[in-house]
Structure formats: structure tokens, C-alpha cells
């Protein structure tokens, strides 16, 4: 688990915002401690469901919802849950919201549920959610936990979308199902296969690390 405290110098991308503590709580998940590109958490859905922009967005939103709800509940019960049974309690809470999300998605659209398939239930074991419950929500007020979940959730959606858009564009020539590249473009099928997930993730990690390097030099 990463330790967000160590990034004190806030001279990066969002420095112009002159973050107040609460916006900082939000921004850290979106950018500086992005769950995917910086903390490298929750890789299973990141690699598996980012083959199209639409799937990536839906998966990101589902995960963000579970993250938000479990952070709220864990935070509000933090003085009630004894240390010894906390992991079991967190898992139970997370599993509950995943089940709820699963039903909700089925109720929204059969098609969407068809394309996300088995990966919805796998949100239970997304280590991003458990790590936020353990490292943040269990020690902070509800308000802060909500901000943290919104930031981390937004960061996760953003990251998944970055991967999904690149993979769909190169692997299929489309974006959200609409043709986007000139007709003669020969799609790189490898990009929508699992290997393409690794290539694209590596590319984004490279970009983020270069950005981090620049930030630490200034």
C-alpha cells in the first residue's frame, strides 16, 4: 500500500488550484496518487475490461460506486468494528455493495450486464477498495472518506477510460462504437486482446513516470 503522506510538495499538474485540504483529498486520488497509474492497484479489471471505452467507463463507474458506498459505511462504523474482525467486516461490506451493483446493472441494461459479465463480481477482490477501507476510511471521518472515495474513484474511472479509449481506437478503429479512424486503417487486433492491455498500461505508466520525474526536478 502506498503512503500518500510523503507527497508534500504539491507542485504538479494541479498546483494552480492551491488545494485546500478537502480539494487535496480529492485531487490526490485523481492524479498524484492515481490508483492505477501511480499505486498500480486493482489490475485485474484494468487489464481485462478495458478493451473498449464503453466497457472501461462502465466498469470504472461500478467500481467507484462500490468504493464510495463501502468507504461511507466503513467510516461510519469505524468505532464500532473491533480491530480483530475488521478485515472480515470490510469484505462483507464490500461484497454487499458489489451484489447491489450487480443487480442494479442488470436492472439498467441486459446488454451492459452481458458485456461486463463475470468482472462485476470480481470487484469484491479489487484491492483498491479494500486498501482504501483499511488505510483511509477506517481512520477518518465520513466527510473525508467520501472525498477520498470520490477522488480515488474518479482516478480509477479516468485511468480505465485512458486504457479503454487507446485500446478501442487502435484495436477496432472506433471510439464508443463510432468509427474514428480513416477507412483504410487496419485494426491492430492485439490491442483488444489481453496482451494489448499490458502494452497500453505500460505506455501510460511510462507517461506518468515521466511526469513524476519532471515534477520532482522542479
Amino acid at each position: 500500500m502506498s503512503n500518500p503522506v510523503q507527497h508534500k510538495t504539491n507542485t504538479g499538474f494541479f498546483s494552480s488550484l492551491k488545494a485546500s485540504p478537502s480539494t487535496d483529498e480529492f485531487i490526490k486520488g485523481l492524479w498524484r496518487d492515481n490508483p492505477v497509474f501511480v499505486q498500480v492497484l486493482g489490475m485485474c479489471p484494468v487489464l481485462a475490461v478495458s478493451n473498449t471505452a464503453e466497457n472501461a467507463l462502465a466498469m470504472g463507474l461500478a467500481t467507484a460506486f462500490v468504493l464510495l458506498m463501502s468507504n461511507v459505511l466503513v467510516s461510519s462504523l469505524r468505532n464500532f468494528i473491533p480491530k480483530q474482525v475488521r478485515i472480515a467486516s470490510y469484505i462483507l461490506i464490500i461484497a454487499t455493495f458489489v451484489t447491489i451493483t450487480d443487480y442494479a446493472i442488470q436492472a439498467i441494461s441486459v446488454e451492459l450486464h452481458k458485456s461486463l459479465g463475470a468482472f462485476i463480481s470480481l470487484i469484491v477482490v479489487n484491492c483498491l477498495i479494500l486498501s482504501r477501507a483499511e488505510a483511509f476510511a477506517s481512520k477518518n471521518t465520513i466527510g473525508k472518506s467520501v472525498l477520498d472515495a470520490l477522488g480515488m474513484g474518479a482516478g480509477f474511472v479516468f485511468a480505465l477510460f485512458c486504457l479503454g479509449a487507446v485500446r478501442e481506437l487502435l484495436g477496432n478503429g472506433t471510439l464508443f462504437g463510432f468509427p474514428f479512424l480513416p477507412g483504410g486503417f487496419q485494426a491492430w487486433i492485439v490491442m483488444i486482446l489481453p496482451a494489448g492491455g499490458f502494452f497500453t498500461l505500460a505506455l501510460w505508466l511510462l507517461i506518468f513516470n515521466i511526469a513524476k520525474e519532471r515534477r520532482s526536478k522542479t
Binding site: 464500532f80 473491533p82 454487499t96
Partner: protein, 228 residues
């Protein structure tokens, strides 16, 4: 992060407290799940029924109305009630004027990634498969999922021959999958290069399912027409 509040560290936690916490959370979570399940159930049922209905219209071109039939123990077809939803159900499609267009049949079998569930339309008059739709598949995106949208592959099912023997007891030629471009007979399913396993699976699923259903439906055609 700076104003972290931690619960007092060294007070021993009583077993009672742990039990209370776990049971409390358990009950709360159970309540939430059951409420959501009950709340979404009617809509999920409606959406699933609508999706199936839509698929029936797709595989039986010209259908205006559908009726579900159940295969009973005597190998005859009776109208299915809304509670029946086991595998032995077929959906008869009727045109605007009430004529039998064909019968939509659900079938499934092992694909590359997981079980593939399909729906196909069988026309007992011309003894042909006239439509095909993938209800559920987890085949590899970009390769195996071509079974859902590859136009050349789907053309296989515009008029796939399921002719019966003259006494109607069995299918004359079982549907078989062949390599892409190797289709010579009207009962063969042309495969897809790059989706070999998935397209072969479809051919085999159809082969098994039509061999079972086509003679039964042929024998009981009257039941569909009479009970409309």
C-alpha cells in the same frame, strides 16, 4: 491524513463486542442485499423477457406474435405457463395473419471461453434454419465474438438445411461445421478463420439441437397451429 484518529489501541476487546460487530454488519448487509434484490427483480425479469422476445423476432423474420410451448412427458407440445422456464421450452412465432412462421429454439454448448447460449429460428414448412442470434457468450473480443457479427458467418443461417427423412423420424443430414470457404452442402456451417473454436462450437450446438428438435416439431406441427 494528518488528523488521523485511531481507536484507543490497548484496550482488550471482549468477545461479545466482536460478535456484536460482526452480527450487526451481517444483518445490515443481508437487509441491504435482500431489499435491492426484491426492488430490482420485477424490472430485471421484464428486461430479460423483452430481450428474449426481441431475439425471437430477430430469428423468425416476419413474426408479429410469439407463444411459448413446453415439451411434456408424452413428447407433445403444450402451451407453457409463465412459471415454466426449464430448457424444454420453444417459442412459436406467428405472422400478422396468424400463420405459423417458425419455432425459435434455445440451445447451448461449450465454446472457447465459456458456454455459448444461442437462439435459432426453425421453419418446419421449408425445413430450414432461418435465423440465428447469440444470447450469451464470453468469447474472446475481436476473435471469438465474430460469431455474433461476422456477416459471412451469419449468412450461414439464412437458409440452413435441416431436411428430415421421408418418414420424419430423423434429420437427413446433421448440421456440421466446416472450414471457412469449404461449405458445399446446404447443411454445412462455414467457419471463421481466427474464430475456429467458437464457430465450430456453433455448428456443433446446432447439429445436436436440430437433430433433437426438428423431428419433434415436424411431428407436432398441428399442435402449434391448433393452439394459436
Amino acid at each position: 491524513m494528518n488528523e488521523t484518529k485511531t481507536a484507543p489501541e490497548n484496550t482488550p476487546t471482549s468477545s461479545m463486542k466482536m460478535l456484536r460487530a460482526m452480527m450487526g454488519i451481517g444483518i445490515l448487509c443481508a437487509l441491504l442485499i435482500v431489499l435491492t434484490f426484491e426492488g430490482t427483480l420485477p424490472r430485471i425479469k421484464r428486461l430479460k423477457a423483452a430481450a428474449l422476445e426481441e431475439a425471437i423476432f430477430k430469428v423468425l423474420p416476419g413474426t408479429a406474435k410469439t407463444v411459448a410451448f413446453k415439451l411434456d412427458q408424452n413428447n407433445t407440445f403444450v402451451r407453457a405457463s409463465s412459471e415454466d422456464k426449464d430448457g424444454q421450452i420453444v417459442y412459436a412465432g406467428y405472422s400478422e395473419s396468424g400463420e405459423l412462421v417458425g419455432v425459435a429454439i434455445e440451445a447451448s454448448g461449450q465454446g472457447y471461453a465459456d458456454v455459448i447460449r444461442i437462439l435459432y429460428g426453425y421453419d418446419p414448412k421449408s425445413q430450414k434454419v432461418v435465423g440465428f442470434y447469440v444470447l450469451e457468450s464470453k468469447e474472446t473480443p475481436g476473435l471469438g465474438d465474430k460469431i455474433e457479427k461476422d456477416p459471412d458467418f451469419l449468412a450461414n443461417f439464412d437458409a440452413l438445411d435441416i431436411s428430415l427423412e421421408d418418414d420424419g423420424s430423423a434429420v437427413k443430414n446433421t448440421v456440421v461445421p466446416v472450414k471457412q470457404g469449404a461449405k458445399e452442402n446446404p447443411w454445412e456451417v462455414d467457419g471463421i478463420t481466427g474464430a475456429t473454436i467458437s464457430s465450430r462450437a456453433i455448428g456443433n450446438i446446432l447439429g445436436i439441437s436440430t437433430a433433437f428438435w426438428a423431428p419433434l416439431i415436424h411431428k407436432n406441427q398441428e399442435a402449434f397451429i391448433a393452439q394459436n
